[in-house]
Symmetry: C2
Subunit: 311 residues, 2 copies
Amino acid sequence: MSQSEQFTHHFADRLNQAIIQKQTPLVVGLDPRINQLPSPLTVDNPGDLTQVAIAYSTFCCEIIDVVADLVPAVKPQAAFFEQIGPLGMAALAEVVDYATAQGLQVIMDAKRGDIGSTATAYASAFLGRKPQSSWGCDALTVNPYMGEDTLQPFVNAANTTGSGIFVLVKTSNPGSHTIQEKRVDDQPIYSLVAKHVEQLSANHVGETGYGNTGAVVGATYPEQLSELRTAMPHTLFLIPGFGAQGGTAKDVAGGLDENGLGGIINSSRAIIFAHELPQYSAATSWQAAVEQATRDTIDKLADGTTASKLR
Amino acid sequence: MSQSEQFTHHFADRLNQAIIQKQTPLVVGLDPRINQLPSPLTVDNPGDLTQVAIAYSTFCCEIIDVVADLVPAVKPQAAFFEQIGPLGMAALAEVVDYATAQGLQVIMDAKRGDIGSTATAYASAFLGRKPQSSWGCDALTVNPYMGEDTLQPFVNAANTTGSGIFVLVKTSNPGSHTIQEKRVDDQPIYSLVAKHVEQLSANHVGETGYGNTGAVVGATYPEQLSELRTAMPHTLFLIPGFGAQGGTAKDVAGGLDENGLGGIINSSRAIIFAHELPQYSAATSWQAAVEQATRDTIDKLADGTTASKLR
């Protein structure tokens, strides 16, 4: 195997390579919502799930057309596709295929988690290229509540297929205190999870210094983000909560390393529904609004974080 | 609304009614696995996902034909369907529809969980009858790691649609110690989750004394099961880990109340793949093996638990 083949076969290297190429850690979240689709894609009858699924697929693929040259990755949110049933899941598969064909990394945000052979089934569903996996994603978000043994099948699949996982560590919502902030032996639960994730990542580091087991750490907790960046030097971060959820560039700055790598920052609603925002009302089309919002977000991140080093 | 209509509109009442009618708390888990399908359904080419999806749907629907008169509910495991992609999800929808048509309660084991509007999307995907929801299930398993605010959309949907949720509290796998057993203020995390679940359930109790927010508590931890049964008097338990995972009737006994209600006990592999077991090798067909394994499991539960009171 040549060095360049090895490079592209490790998820963290592939992602970092894409970040360097696109000069930004911004990830666009694909969260289609029926009531917010731009007018050319408005669905007359929300009960007609065939029509809704076509609209979702079209909407996401058109966004991909706009952002494919601008960002390293997209993050489809499985829930919004699952919401409309099997037709939605077929649309989700189309979106994954299309994003992959456009050279984007695809991070499936499905927050799966289960025991033993069931976790193996989820892992083989999502992780790796087709036909190795049915959905063919580059990475998957995973929930750690059931324990270390339930993460292992995902880690094994990631190692084998050159894909990655992002384990929920400290999420962006207010209720993340319920379990994640509870203190055990003077450290919060999220730190315990973080230590395990860092160990898993350190066990399988690529050429760019990061492993394939990442962590989800919310932009809405900037102190914890900086603290975890230091504590988890081999771990890629997926950082939600930027933009519509209230996180600013300053808030996410601590999630990146000194070269602007090590983290990807997700924005969903503030980009994909830019047509609803007053500052983009002059855009000539909803796609033009998406493009402008993407460029503006990239600039904001470059102004406020080490993402500036990527330019 | 008449009393009987009210009765059937609360998930716990509907489930308890079905348990009383079938005289057993046994739930059959639908976990199709390509390498274990009985010979009439063997798939020649595992890469032909259309063929696999048809085999999974046929396998599960034939099991439903066998068990519909014997048990109150089935529990499809979403992972095994998701493993084969969108065609698998279409097969899953067929299985849910078929089980519902045969009068079974359908508990979707998908362990979903996410924040705010994303949780609402998952809830509206699964909870409630069609077309109110796209999948039309009676209940859904839910992961609490992201916090209390992430459970609320599921609770709201359950209240509105007469469906239920089962929140992961203490799972059946060895790694459940990683987070669930960690002690905070001298009580384990699973007890904190259990208290919140009991409160949610107590807020929406049906005529049979149980609420619509249930708990997943593994059969492999019998002491915790008994302790939680006492601490959670309004909470339905979904008890996995019986049978193939090692739990015995004695182990699950503490999960039921004095009338044999309050809990459902899942068995998947030991029933649906009974054709592989030596004790059923004399069965005239794989379906006959499933029927005999179901009847034997029902008898074991009646012998070793208060499920005897249902007869």
